[in-house]
């Protein structure tokens, strides 16, 4: 059989091994690409989560507080004015002095008082204002510790370092250890982080203001970008004559999608703030700028969604005498809407994570108050992250990561919503 003529099948068989090997190599390359990608995502998440998870807890110290009218300096008055300006820090000082009677030196005492957050007196003030009858009574109250103490309790301050290289000296560490032994030091869920605005003190700083600012800006963006984007897409795709002008518009929209976002920030600064005269740092202006930035994305996604509606549906409607408008709004739009919504959500997620244009319009300011409306000065979540990343305190490092986690959680849930929408309204023909 050796001198059997070579058939087609022989040739096919001869090349098989090489063809399969090629396929295996390609598959391996693909798997490696995916593995590398996943590895980096994993690295990102571990680094952020390991850095940031501790920020969701805050060290508190339980102090025995006596609301002494004499110390507060309020006499017999119980009105709001008097209670607001009373000396609550004195109560904390008294309480600490009782625990550490041996500390007599002025400098040392100052260090002792510094262990409790400067926000603690405000907390006491709130308690007393909400219930003035507490004056004279005696309570054990959990008060937030200073950020350095918080770091020490969380193990972020290395006790083995020489004393002068540490933020806390041996004496303070000794006090903290004594308090811990007494069982009056505890890590509690950090609600401040979600409700408060920015602060110079890490233990008082939160993302509440930034989230509110971001939400106002996104609301403005959604209210403007969705209707404008969808209307533009419908007009261009369904009604506009196909000529040089519409081609030009289409090219420009595609180009706008690729313009660096900081350029939109400059445009917003020049147009909305300098010419229109809208207030600086306002979520309204941020929303307007993000609208400009998101519009191309929404228009392109909406046009793609409209294009994917089969022409047979249009013909069916027109074949029984539906007008162009009826065809579009009764049949094409309902089919294209899920795609449009997906595009919008992706665009909104992009807008939520955008920092650069907001820097240009002044949303980068240090804002302590939580904005009450879209015209109040405010920051946005990514800008807050940028600001905190710049702060030297160790406690802001974990807060930066925690804020990133919150931002990522928002982004992931928005993308998830987009995926769910797409799944739910999958093609029905």
């Amino acid at each position: 059989m050796a001198d059997r003529p070579i058939t087609t099948l022989d040739k096919v068989n001869a090349s098989l091994a090489r063809r399969y090997a090629k396929e295996r190599r390609f598959r391996r390359a693909g798997l490696m690409a995916i593995a590398t990608g996943l590895l980096f995502v994993l690295l990102l998440f571990t680094s952020i989560i390991s850095n940031g998870y501790s920020a969701f807890w805050q060290t508190h110290v339980k102090l025995d507080i006596t609301f002494n009218a004499e110390q507060l300096g309020i006499g017999d008055a119980r009105d709001f004015e008097t209670l607001s300006s009373a000396d609550y820090a004195a109560l904390i000082r008294t309480s600490l002095k009782k625990i550490f009677p041996e500390v007599r030196d002025r400098k040392e005492r100052r260090k002792l008082y510094k262990m409790i957050s400067t926000g603690a007196p405000l907390l006491l003030r709130e308690i007393l204002i909400s219930d003035p009858t507490l004056v004279g009574s005696h309570h054990a109250i959990w008060l937030p510790a200073d950020d350095d103490i918080d770091m020490l309790v969380k193990g972020q301050i290395d006790r083995t370092q020489p004393e002068d290289a540490r933020r806390l000296n041996n004496q303070v560490i000794g006090w903290v250890d004594r308090l811990t032994e007494n069982g009056v030091v505890e890590q509690q869920f950090n609600t401040t982080f979600f409700t408060a605005g920015d602060s110079r003190e890490p233990e008082l700083a939160g993302i509440g203001g930034a989230i509110t600012g971001s939400l106002y800006a996104l609301l403005v963006t959604l209210l403007l970008a969705f209707p404008i984007g969808v209307a533009t897409a419908i007009y261009l795709e369904e009604f506009a004559p196909k000529n040089r002008w519409t081609d030009l518009i289409e090219i420009n929209i595609n180009n706008l999608a690729a313009v660096p976002s900081i350029v939109f920030g400059l445009l917003g600064l020049a147009l909305f703030i300098n010419i229109v005269g809208l207030p600086r740092s306002a979520p309204l202006v941020g929303g307007l700028v993000l609208t400009l930035m998101t519009l191309p994305t929404i228009i392109i996604a909406s046009r793609a969604a409209l294009k994917s509606v089969p022409p047979s549906i249009r013909e069916a409607a027109m074949g029984i005498g539906a007008s162009k408008m009826q065809t579009v709004f009764h049949h094409v739009l309902p089919q294209a809407l899920p795609g449009m919504l997906t595009g919008t959500i992706i665009g909104m997620a992009q807008a939520l994570g955008e920092t650069a244009p907001l820097l240009m319009i002044g949303m980068v300011a240090f804002v302590v108050d939580i904005p009450g409306g879209p015209l109040d000065p405010s920051t946005a979540l990514p800008v807050q992250i940028f600001l905190w990343a710049d702060s030297p305190e160790r406690a802001f490092v974990e807060r930066t990561s925690a804020a990133i986690m919150v931002l990522l959680a928002f982004l992931i849930s928005m993308n998830l919503l987009a995926v769910l929408l797409r799944k739910k309204f999958e093609r029905r023909w």
């Binding site: 249009r314 409607a317 027109m318 074949g319 029984i320 005498g321 539906a322």
Partner: protein, 281 residues
């Protein structure tokens, strides 16, 4: 240009030959519903329909046959101006519906398409319920006075499309859930729900199995009592079964037109004969 209907048949035949190019056979009918005269269609630089003239009579089924790309579908789509939706398409010549020029600048295509309905090659029900599919036409044109009237219209249309018994218990289910043949009958019901005068059918059975095809053909025969039907088909047997007149298209020209049995038994033109005997196509 309208042919004088009072002229004797022989004389008219001469006129036709003189004016309407190469078409063999009598392209006029005694009682035309639609008349097309010297219709030319261009797609960008392609001359898709060349000088076609044809009458479509009341209550007749006219079949348009011919090889792929011969322009029969294009011609059909001219009859309710569906070609308007194609950007590069230009139509010249004259098409009249009951004596009214449908390419008149002042004519509104919306009522025109209500009068000249269309059924497409692929069944294309709306992704809505069976009821809403049929009710859509009456709704947009405001044909029903009340909900009861609309219900009656839907039932009547579905009955006439021979679909009522199969779907009466599931009117609220999506039309896209029906079988191919049922979907096509649903599309026919949807078309007749607006009571058009003419129904254009563009290869309505090409996506269907033989049993569904037979049902549609039966239906076409029944619909002839009330409607004028122009049907484009690839199946010569189908043309022979359902139509009274047949037109044969070739490369954009209407080669021959005449009574269906005559076309199939005794074609006059060489091209028609070649196509019908299966020498090409």
């Amino acid at each position: 240009m309208i042919v004088e209907r009072t002229a004797p048949a022989e004389e008219m035949f001469q006129v036709i030959h003189a004016n309407f190019g190469s078409t063999v056979g009598d392209l006029t009918v005694a009682e035309p519903r639609m008349t097309a005269r010297n219709v030319n269609v261009h797609y960008a630089d392609k001359h898709a329909i060349i000088d076609v003239s044809l009458d479509i009579g009341c209550h007749e089924v006219i079949a348009l046959i011919g090889p792929s790309g011969c322009g029969k579908s294009t011609f059909l789509r001219c009859l309710n101006r569906m070609n308007d939706t194609i950007e590069s398409c230009r139509v010249s010549g004259e098409i009249r519906l009951d004596g009214q020029d449908i390419y008149d600048k002042n004519l509104d295509v919306v009522p025109l398409r209500a009068r000249v309905g269309m059924v497409f090659q692929k069944p294309n029900p709306f992704p809505k319920s069976i009821y809403d599919n049929v009710a859509y036409g009456p709704r947009i044109h405001g044909l029903a006075e009340s909900q009861t009237a609309l219900d009656e219209m839907v039932e009547d249309s579905l009955r006439r499309a021979g679909l009522w018994d199969e779907v009466k218990d599931r009117l609220q289910q999506p039309g896209t859930g029906l079988s191919g043949g049922q979907q096509q009958r649903l599309c026919i019901a949807r078309t007749i729900a607006v009571s058009p005068e003419v129904i254009l059918m563009d290869e309505p059975c090409s996506a269907l199995d033989p049993i569904a095809t037979a049902k549609i053909e039966e239906l076409i025969d029944e619909l002839r009592q009330n409607f004028t039907i122009a049907i484009v088909t690839h199946s010569m047997q189908q043309a022979a079964r359902v139509s009274q007149r047949t037109g044969y298209f070739h490369l954009g020209r209407l080669i021959e037109v005449g009574k269906t049995d005559e076309i199939f038994t005794n074609p006059q033109h060489k091209l028609t004969e070649d196509y019908i005997t299966g020498r090409f196509g």
